[in-house]
Symmetry: C2
Subunit: 465 residues, 2 copies
Amino acid sequence: MSQNRFQNLYPPMPSIFMAPTEIMYDAKHLFLFSHTQGVKKPYKEVIDICWGDAHSGGTKPLTFVRQVIAVCIYPELLQETTIAPDVKERARRLLRECPGGSVGKYCVCGIPFVQDGVCEFISKRDGGVPSYPEDIFICSGSQNALMFVLKLLVHGKGLAQTGVLTPIPCYPTFVMGLTELGAAMVPYYLCEDDGWCLHVEELRRALATSRSHCNPRILYVINPGNPTGHVQSRESIEEVIRFAAEEELFIFADEVYQDMMYAEGSQFVSYKKVLFEMGPQYSNTVELASFHSVSKGIMGECGLRCGYVELVNLDPSVKQSVTSAFNTERNTAVIGQIALNIMVDPPKPGDPSYPTFSQVSLHETVEALPGTSFQAGSGGIYAYLRLDLPQKALLQAKEEGTDPDLMYCSRLLEEEGVCLVVGKEHGQQEGTYHIRICIGTTSTRLKEVLRRLKSFHLRFLNEFS
Amino acid sequence: MSQNRFQNLYPPMPSIFMAPTEIMYDAKHLFLFSHTQGVKKPYKEVIDICWGDAHSGGTKPLTFVRQVIAVCIYPELLQETTIAPDVKERARRLLRECPGGSVGKYCVCGIPFVQDGVCEFISKRDGGVPSYPEDIFICSGSQNALMFVLKLLVHGKGLAQTGVLTPIPCYPTFVMGLTELGAAMVPYYLCEDDGWCLHVEELRRALATSRSHCNPRILYVINPGNPTGHVQSRESIEEVIRFAAEEELFIFADEVYQDMMYAEGSQFVSYKKVLFEMGPQYSNTVELASFHSVSKGIMGECGLRCGYVELVNLDPSVKQSVTSAFNTERNTAVIGQIALNIMVDPPKPGDPSYPTFSQVSLHETVEALPGTSFQAGSGGIYAYLRLDLPQKALLQAKEEGTDPDLMYCSRLLEEEGVCLVVGKEHGQQEGTYHIRICIGTTSTRLKEVLRRLKSFHLRFLNEFS
Ligand SMILES: Cc1ncc(COP(=O)(O)O)c(C=O)c1O
Ligand SMILES: Cc1ncc(COP(=O)(O)O)c(C=O)c1O
């Protein structure tokens, strides 16, 4: 098997602000490859903690989810005595709701029962704000949903090219999607010194600047943030909505980390809830798309590919186009929809499967490292650390013709067998350097990562001091 | 549950040549709805035999497929004594090949092991013609694959608009896809009197005509045909390839029904095989995309959403775009890929699961009906019947402001509870009328359909004679 075969397992790097990161990816593949080929290293196992992929991080899949799907796939398992009654009940119910009682049939654009479940979930989450099945589009992951909706809005060239206000730092796949679709990325910077807050003045600045080269129409926000982990307050969301209303921007609220709040006392509030509580002036006019996914949250099932988008206040003709685009693609697997149903309606305390279900958790506390600064977030699955690199290290990187954070991460991989994501990949302010750690992993693993990182970091500082 | 909720289960009708068919779909939904509400009818069960969906037709899913997936989803089943050793072996192997040993992780663009299996399958099928993993793109169904590749080729407006030569009759989803992407559909007619053969003169005519309004670049062929069931001979394929080479057309060979040959002595030959046997003048130049899917063939798993496209002789820059588009969308579920692996490498005679596997078959013989004409196909899962409707029936339809075949099908549904697809939906020559029956069903069911159809048909002829 040749080395380039690994590339399929990872996404290619977006070209917008991160060409150098390709080197890191290549290094990683080569490295992982040579490692599996038995090249001797001072550690036993390479820890790849790049991706927001809970199972890669060592978290176990939820038994309830896997059992229900197994029974739906192979209904003979309904006879098994080892499988809990609530698992069987859910599987029976879901099979009844699948067209023709099987997961093997076309179900073009969402099983109505699953859509209904999503609505109930949203409405309960938002304290009773209604949610309608015809606004819910179930698709093959939230990335797929993002692309669907973007595809329908993005058009034009030059001054007419659709601009998308995009937070920096931002995870790279979204930026790749924008490039793919021919949208103009309009960067707005999150304020690191203020715990990665979103400031409306910065949105205003970005918008004004962008008008000289494109037509800004969409405002993309990630809450809780990736990679920052920052969770927006209700007041911040209100401000953003008011701004979007004034400027007639369509809000894309990427809320895939909504179920992953770990800071004591902090709470996730959805854009939709805030929008509806701001009264009809806003709730009847501001266009909003909110995204969620089974890849994240309590189950972390990235391989099943299912998510949804709720569309609010859409122009009826655009809505019609969305409906027809979803129907034409028909790519959502029925099994993913089953996972979605469990995500929005998990077992409750008292159900036989409840203990197994709640025992596995992604929430972990993060420890800060010496010689770095860290704006602790309160949700999501990432810790985003700033590296304060010594002048000598910056010079060395320059000499090697590489970026300082890339050099840092390559060495970390080489010397300690830990793969992290280079800040450059998310975009960062000139002269600042960051690394992203996925904390959606077991505590044992996270401790080991921090142990290796610390040992490397001290050595690195020492070398360049 | 309101009636319009059913619409999500069915695709909307394409607007190009079939606006009236919407009425049939609406009628069907309303009808199925009223039926479930207990409106009395002279039959117990409505038989919906519209779709190319084997499980809807009553065919049972293959035990081996379902067991392997269940084990991969819930590996604790490896302990079960009731599950055959070859099932466990395959599941273990596949889990080893999934990133991190789980079906729950991102696996952006195909598991290398599954890609390798596809290559071996193709190469064996084509008598040794090599197939390379980097040419195989695994995706969320063949419709998804078609859209992916089309998306990269279709562009322009007016005379520069990409034209796609499309067989008539053709299943509607493809045509919807073309509309969605802004391609010009260039119809070429299959020759009904010659058993639905593809004649190169007709291609030439269609191409010449199209040049006055678009830029024809793609030639779409379906072999075995949907809805015709016609299987192309090697000579016919050679002719088509020569034509494509002369006219610099990119061939899209939709070969999803390749494993479903039912006529004695007839054989499926792939476009790729013929292309390679025609020598380097063709095999090194003609661009070819060949599509296959787990929705069809021996397993009929439409709900799992997985297929592949093999791309041959692609321009490297286009190939690069395809790769990046596949990676950006990342919507193929790992479970679908497992099904794909089994499709291309099913249990062999002697394996414990072999008997269960081969016992379920989609191949059924079709009986012709009196008062209709039928060009029997030799592959695929459809029978396409021509209705020779009496003059009085045509007048009645005109009076009702509807299409004769639509009137026929609506009544068939109303009076006998059988849903078929109206020929109008596939496109047909002016003044001819057809119906499509999906024969990918159990023999008991097919017999019942034919019994009801016959009884209705005789009554209908009688009424209008
Ligand atoms: C903020 C955010 N949105 C969307 C996605 C895409 O997730 P998926 O397509 O698996 O649902 C990710 C993946 O990491 C993400 O971090
Ligand atoms: C000829 C043909 N190609 C492609 C498809 C799409 O199949 P899928 O997307 O399920 O693989 C169909 C579906 O009926 C078909 O008949």
